[in-house]
C-alpha cells in the first residue's frame, strides 16, 4: 500500500501565473487535522532504538527513555532493540491505534535511512505521515562518541529537541502538480535520439531539438566505432530511422532552445528554428569543411530568414547536449602550425573519405610511411604543465573514450596499410570496457609500437630536417625504455583529443543547473540518482554529464526515458510539502521576501483582499527559507520547519544546559 493511496483527491487551487494552464493543488490534510494542537490530542510517543548494540553500547537507552517520559506533551516513552523491525513497528502501531499517541518521535538512526519506513507506518495507522520526527542518536551520537554519560546526555538533548519540534508538527500533504506527458529533448546526438525513441516507446511525446541541420551529432562525423568496427553512419541512420516520421516525435532541426523555464510537469521552452547553422559550426571547429556548412545554410536558407520561434510544453527536460572535442592550441604538438598534425576525429574523416582502393595515405602530396598517435591531448591536464584557456579551467579529467578509439583507429589503419609504421604515445592505456583490452592486444599484434610518457613530460613535436625520411620528429621520454629520450619520425601525427563541456550556457542559466568542477553537468548523486539533476524534472543523457562512450550514452539515455516515465506516469507529480506558507492575515505586502527569493517564480506579490500579499507557488518553492528570514512581520513559515518549531528546539537545548549547570 503506498502513501498516496491513503491521501485524498487533490483539490485544485488557484493557478500560479507562470503556467496558467496547469492545475496545481495543495491538498487539505484531513488526517489528524483537528489534532494539530499539542493540547488537544493524546500526545507524543517517544520510541528509543537500541539498534542492536550500535546505540545501546554507548548510550544508556533506559536513561534516555526515563528522561523523555517526563517531557511536556509526551504520553509514552518506550525502547526496542530494533525499532525498524516488525516487533518495533507493531509496538508503535498499537500505541497509535489504541489512541495512546497521535504523533511520534523516533530516536534511532539517520532519517535518510528510515524516515520513509516510519512515515509509511503512520500511513498504515491512518495518521498523517508527516507527524513523525526522527532524532538521530546513532550517526550523530553513539557512533561518534565514547563517553557513556556525555553521549547519553547528548542523546537526551536530541530527543528533547525532537519532542519540542514534534509538539508543533502539523499534518502536511505533498504538493501535487498536473504533469504534461511530453518531454523536451535538447540535443539530437546518439543520446538524444536514443532517449527520444525510448520516451515515445513509454508513451511520452517528444520535442527533439538539434542545433545542426542533420541528426546524429558528433558520432555522425566518425568513421568506424569501437569495439566492433561498426560504420558510424549506419549506426546513426538506424537511430534516426527509428524516430523519423513518428508523429509522436517533433524534430526541430537547425534549432536552438532560446528560453526554458517552469518546473517538473510544467516546463515551457522557446525553440528558435532555422537558427543559422553556419554561425554555430564556425565557432565549434573552424577547420570543418567549408562546403559542408555551405550545404547546411543552403538547406535552411528559408528557415533562417524567417527564424521561427515556437513555444513547447514539457513535463520533463532531457539535456542531451553532448560535449565539444578539445581543440588543441597552436602551441600543442604543432597543431594547425605543422603540416600533418591532425586530431583523431579529423583522421577518422580522412580514413572515411579515402577510397577503398587507395593504396597509400598522403599528407600534402607526401606519402605517409609512419603515423603517430598521442593520447590524452586536452585530458588529464596538470597544473604548471598545461595552460588553461582564457577564463577557463584545466581539463583534469580522463576523457575515457580516446584510448580505445585510438586503438581502434590504429588497427583500422593497419588493416588498410600493412607497411605503415604506427607509434602510440600514451600515459596509461585505459581500455576498461568489454572488448577494449582485446583491441589493445590486437593493436600490439599489428605491430603498433607503444611509447609511454609521463603527464609532466608530454612528447615534443618539431618539423624534421629536409633530408629526413619523415616529415615530423617526435621526442618522448619513454617510461618503457627506462626513461630514455627517444626520437620517432612520423609523417602524420594524430592527436587523440579529449572531451570538454558543451557550450550550453543558456540552458544552464535558464534552468539553474549545477555543473561540477570540470564544467560538465552534475547529477544529484552519481550512484543513487545518476541521470537526475537537482532541479526536479531535468534529466541528463549522454556526454553532457561527463565523458561517456556511445554504449554509456545510450544506457543513460534509456535510463532517462524510464525515469521520465516514472515521474510523469501518474499524470501528476508529487513534491515535498516543505515549502513556504504565507499567513495572509499577517502579510503586509512589504515585498522583501520576493527580493530575497533565489528561485524565479517561486514567490510573487498579488493583489488580494484589497492589498498586496505574498503568494508562494509550492511547485517551484524549494523551501530554502530565505523569505522567512527577511519577513518583517513574521508572516511566512516553511511548512514542517516553522519558526515555532525552531524556537522549541532551541528551548530544548537550553533547558538541558540549565539542568547541567
Amino acid at each position: 500500500m503506498s502513501e498516496s493511496d491513503k491521501l485524498p483527491t487533490p483539490t485544485p487551487i488557484s493557478t500560479p501565473s507562470l503556467t496558467p494552464k496547469k492545475a496545481v493543488s495543495v491538498q487539505k490534510p484531513p488526517l489528524a487535522a483537528a489534532k494539530n494542537d499539542k493540547t488537544s490530542g493524546p500526545g507524543i510517543g517517544v520510541y528509543v532504538c537500541h539498534c542492536g548494540g550500535n546505540i545501546a553500547d554507548v548510550v544508556d537507552v533506559k536513561g534516555v527513555v526515563d528522561q523523555a517520559s517526563g517531557l511536556e506533551g509526551v504520553a509514552i516513552a518506550r525502547e526496542n532493540s530494533f525499532m525498524c523491525s516488525d516487533p518495533g513497528q507493531s509496538m508503535i502501531l498499537e500505541d497509535i491505534r489504541a489512541g495512546r499517541v497521535d504523533r511520534v518521535v523516533i530516536a534511532a538512526c539517520s532519517p535518510s535511512l528510515h524516515e520513509t519506513t516510519f512515515r509509511s507506518l503512520l500511513v498504515r495507522a491512518d495518521v498523517n505521515p508527516f507527524l513523525v520526527e526522527q532524532a538521530n542518536i546513532r550517526e550523530q551520537c553513539s557512533w561518534v562518541h565514547h563517553n557513556h554519560e556525555e553521549a547519553t546526555a547528548k542523546a537526551a538533548t536530541l530527543v528533547r529537541m525532537a519532542v519540542g519540534k514534534a509538539r508543533h508538527l502539523k499534518p502536511l500533504s505533498p504538493v501535487r502538480v498536473d504533469a504534461a506527458k511530453r518531454a523536451l529533448v535538447i540535443g539530437g546526438g546518439v543520446a538524444g535520439l536514443r532517449a527520444a525513441r525510448d520516451l515515445v516507446g513509454l508513451g511520452i511525446d517528444v520535442d527533439l531539438v538539434e542545433r545542426e541541420a542533420d541528426l546524429g551529432g558528433f558520432v555522425s562525423g566518425l568513421d568506424r566505432l569501437y569495439p566492433d568496427g561498426e560504420v558510424a553512419g549506419d549506426f546513426v541512420e538506424r537511430l534516426v530511422s527509428d524516430i523519423e516520421g513518428d508523429p509522436r516525435v517533433t524534430i526541430h532541426r537547425s534549432a536552438e532552445v532560446r528560453r526554458v523555464g517552469g518546473y517538473i510537469g510544467n516546463f515551457t521552452a522557446t525553440i528558435a528554428s532555422g537558427a543559422s547553422s553556419a554561425d554555430q559550426s564556425a565557432d565549434q571547429s573552424a577547420d570543418q569543411s567549408a562546403d559542408q556548412s555551405a550545404d547546411q545554410s543552403a538547406d535552411s536558407t528559408s528557415a533562417s530568414t524567417s527564424n521561427v520561434e515556437v513555444e513547447v510544453e514539457a513535463g520533463v527536460v532531457v539535456v542531451a547536449t553532448g560535449f565539444r572535442p578539445y581543440a588543441p592550441t597552436r602551441r600543442e604538438f604543432g597543431c594547425g602550425r605543422l603540416p600533418g598534425v591532425v586530431t583523431l576525429p579529423d583522421f577518422g574523416r580522412m580514413l572515411a573519405d579515402l577510397p577503398d582502393t587507395a593504396s597509400s595515405l598522403e599528407v600534402d602530396g607526401r606519402p605517409v610511411r609512419s603515423v603517430g598517435f598521442i593520447h590524452c591531448v586536452g585530458s588529464r591536464q596538470l597544473e604548471g604543465v598545461h595552460k588553461p584557456p582564457k577564463g577557463g579551467t584545466l581539463n583534469k579529467h580522463c576523457s575515457r573514450v580516446c584510448c580505445t578509439a585510438t586503438l581502434q583507429t590504429a588497427t583500422q589503419l593497419r588493416d588498410r596499410f600493412a607497411d605503415v609504421a604506427i607509434h602510440d604515445f600514451y600515459q596509461d592505456i585505459r581500455a576498461y570496457g568489454r572488448g577494449h583490452e582485446e583491441l589493445y592486444e590486437q593493436a600490439s599484434r599489428a605491430d603498433v609500437i607503444f611509447h609511454r610518457y609521463a603527464g609532466d613530460t608530454p612528447p615534443k613535436v618539431r618539423k624534421a630536417p629536409e633530408d629526413d625520411e619523415n616529415g615530423l620528429l617526435v621526442n618522448v621520454v619513454d617510461g618503457l625504455t627506462w626513461g630514455e629520450e627517444l626520437e620517432i619520425g612520423v609523417d602524420l601525427l594524430v592527436l587523440s583529443v579529449g572531451m570538454t563541456p558543451g557550450d550550453i550556457g543558456t540552458i544552464i542559466d535558464n534552468l539553474k543547473l549545477a555543473t561540477s568542477a570540470d564544467g560538465f553537468l552534475q547529477e544529484v548523486h552519481p550512484k543513487l540518482r545518476p541521470v537526475e539533476m537537482a532541479v526536479n524534472g531535468v534529466l541528463l543523457a549522454g556526454a553532457c554529464q561527463g565523458p561517456k562512450d556511445i554504449l554509456e550514452s545510450c544506457a543513460s539515455a534509456s535510463a532517462v526515458a524510464v525515469k521520465a516515465a516514472v515521474l510523469l506516469g501518474k499524470g501528476y507529480v508529487e513534491l515535498e510539502p516543505y515549502v513556504a506558507e504565507v499567513d495572509s492575515a499577517r502579510c503586509t505586502g512589504a515585498g522583501q521576501c520576493q527580493e530575497a527569493c533565489p528561485v524565479e517564480g517561486a514567490l510573487e506579490l498579488v493583489e488580494e483582499g484589497g492589498g498586496r500579499r505574498a503568494k508562494v507557488n509550492p511547485a517551484i518553492c524549494t523551501g530554502c527559507g530565505c523569505c522567512v528570514a527577511v519577513c518583517p512581520s513574521g508572516a511566512i513559515n516553511v511548512a514542517g520547519w516553522t519558526l515555532d518549531q525552531f524556537a522549541s528546539m532551541v528551548e530544548a537545548i537550553t533547558e538541558g544546559e540549565e539542568v547541567a549547570s
Binding site: A421, E441, S444, W482, E487, I488
Partner: protein, 403 residues
C-alpha cells in the same frame, strides 16, 4: 642525445622464430619470473624493447642474450602469450647472423632451400677433394675393414691437409665473428640505458679476468645455469633425460672426441691398429658413446614432442614447438657424425668387411667437415658466444664488487 627509433627490426627478428613477440606490452612479468635474470639484468623484457625500438646493436651486443637458457618459464607466465623465451632464441639466431658479415648464417637460418644448396655444394666439394687420390675400395671384398684400408680409400695426407686447411679457415672465421661480438660487448650500453656509453674502463684487471675465466669454466662444465632452469620446469623428466644432462653428455663427448682425435694425430702412426683399451682409443670410444647417446636422446625428444603452438602448452612443449630448420640442421649433423663414427669404430673391431662401410666413412668425414666449417654460422656458434657472455658477466660483477 635522443635515440632514433625504427620499426624495421621487429619484423626481421620475428622471422628468426619470435612469431608472437609483437603482442608484448612491456609488463616485465617475464623478467620477474626468470630464474637467471638477476642483479641489473633485465632480460627478456629489455631485449624485447630493444627489438621494438629497432636498436639492433643494443640487442646483439648484450651479454644477457646468451645468459638465457630457454627454460620457457617466461613464455608460460606471459599474460599476452608473446613468447619471450622464443624471442630470446630468435634473437640469438639473429645475433649469430649479424656477427657473420658474409650472410651465410642468415641464409642458413631463414631459407630451407639455401640450407640444402649449401650442404650439397659443400658436401660435393669435400667429397671430390677427399676422393681425388683415392685408391678405391679394396678389390678383395673379404679384406678386414680397418684403419689401414680406410686410409687407402682416402689417403692420409689428403685427409690431413684438408683438415688442417679447414681448421685454419675455421679459426679465421671464428676469430672474426667472435671479434665482432667482443667489440660489441665492450661497447655495449650499461644496463638501464640505451644511449649511454659504458663507463670508461681503467687499466684492464688481468687477475679479475682470470678469476672470471675460472668461474666460467666451472659453471659451464657443471651446467649450473641449465640446472637452475630445469628445476623450474613443471614437467621434469628423470635426470638421464633432462636437458641439462643430455647437453652435458654432448659437450663432454664432443670434447673427448676432439681430444682423442688431436692426441691420435700427434702421437699415433696413422696406419697402426690399436686395441680398444689403449688409453687414447678408450677415451675416444667412451666419448663417442656419450656423444651418440646425447645427440640421439635430444633428437628423439624433439621428434616425439608434438609441436604445440597452443598458449597453454607446457614449457618443454613450447620449447620444441619452435625448432627451426637451422636447429634441425645442427642436430641432425651432430647425430649423423656421431652415429657414423660409432659404426666405423665398431666395424674396426668386429670381423666385418663390406663395401658400404667405405661409403659410411666418406659420409662421416664429409659431414664432420661440414659441421666444423659451419660452426660459426649455425646454432653451434653458441659454443663461443655463451661462455664469453658468462665470462663477461662474472668479470663485470667481480669488478663492480671490487670497486
Amino acid at each position: 642525445m635522443a635515440t632514433r627509433v625504427n620499426t624495421r627490426l621487429l619484423p626481421e627478428i620475428k622471422r628468426y622464430g619470435a612469431f608472437d613477440v609483437s603482442a608484448c606490452f612491456n609488463c616485465g612479468n617475464c623478467t620477474a619470473v626468470c630464474p637467471l635474470s638477476q642483479d641489473n639484468d633485465a632480460f627478456p623484457r629489455r631485449m624485447i624493447r630493444y627489438a621494438q625500438l629497432g636498436l639492433s646493436d643494443h640487442l646483439i651486443s648484450n651479454k644477457e642474450l646468451w645468459l638465457c637458457q630457454h627454460c620457457g618459464e617466461c613464455s608460460e607466465t606471459c599474460p599476452r602469450q608473446a613468447g619471450p623465451a622464443e624471442f630470446m632464441a630468435a634473437s640469438r639466431r639473429y645475433a649469430i647472423s649479424q656477427f657473420d658479415p658474409s650472410g651465410l648464417a642468415r641464409s642458413l637460418h631463414l631459407s630451407t632451400g639455401r640450407i640444402l644448396l649449401i650442404m650439397g655444394v659443400l658436401g660435393g666439394i669435400f667429397a671430390s677433394v677427399l676422393l681425388w687420390k683415392s685408391s678405391g675400395v679394396p678389390a678383395d671384398s673379404s679384406a678386414q675393414f680397418s684403419t689401414a684400408t680406410m686410409l687407402d680409400f682416402v689417403p692420409f695426407h689428403v685427409l690431413h691437409d684438408v683438415g688442417m686447411g679447414l681448421f685454419a679457415l675455421l679459426g679465421v672465421i671464428a676469430l672474426m665473428t667472435l671479434g665482432n661480438m667482443l667489440w660489441m660487448l665492450a661497447h655495449a650500453p650499461v644496463p638501464g640505458g640505451v644511449g649511454q656509453p659504458d663507463e670508461t674502463p681503467r687499466r684492464f684487471p688481468v687477475g679479475t679476468a682470470l678469476r672470471a675465466v675460472g668461474l666460467t669454466l666451472s659453471e659451464v662444465l657443471l651446467h649450473r645455469r641449465q640446472r637452475d632452469c630445469d628445476t623450474e620446469h613443471s614437467d621434469v623428466a628423470p635426470w638421464p633425460l633432462r636437458r641439462w644432462f643430455l647437453h652435458l653428455t654432448m659437450l663432454v663427448g664432443f670434447g673427448g672426441l676432439a681430444a682423442a682425435t688431436t692426441l691420435d694425430f700427434l702421437f699415433k702412426d696413422p696406419d697402426l691398429h690399436v686395441m680398444p683399451w689403449s688409453p687414447i682409443r678408450l677415451l675416444g670410444i667412451v666419448s663417442g658413446l656419450m656423444f651418440t647417446y646425447g645427440t640421439s636422446a635430444i633428437l628423439i625428444k624433439r621428434l616425439v614432442a608434438q609441436p604445440h603452438p597452443d598458449a597453454r602448452a607446457t614449457a618443454s612443449q613450447r620449447y620444441y614447438a619452435h625448432t627451426l630448420k637451422s636447429d634441425w640442421l645442427f642436430l641432425w649433423l651432430l647425430w649423423a657424425v656421431s652415429v657414423t663414427g660409432f659404426i666405423l669404430t665398431a666395424a674396426i673391431y668386429l670381423p666385418v668387411s663390406a663395401a658400404w662401410l667405405y661409403g659410411v666413412f666418406l659420409v662421416h668425414v664429409v659431414l664432420a667437415m661440414e659441421l666444423l666449417i659451419l660452426m660459426p654460422f649455425t646454432k653451434f656458434a653458441h659454443v663461443f658466444y655463451r661462455p664469453v657472455a658468462i665470462w663477461y658477466q662474472h668479470f663485470r660483477r667481480l669488478r663492480q664488487s671490487a670497486s
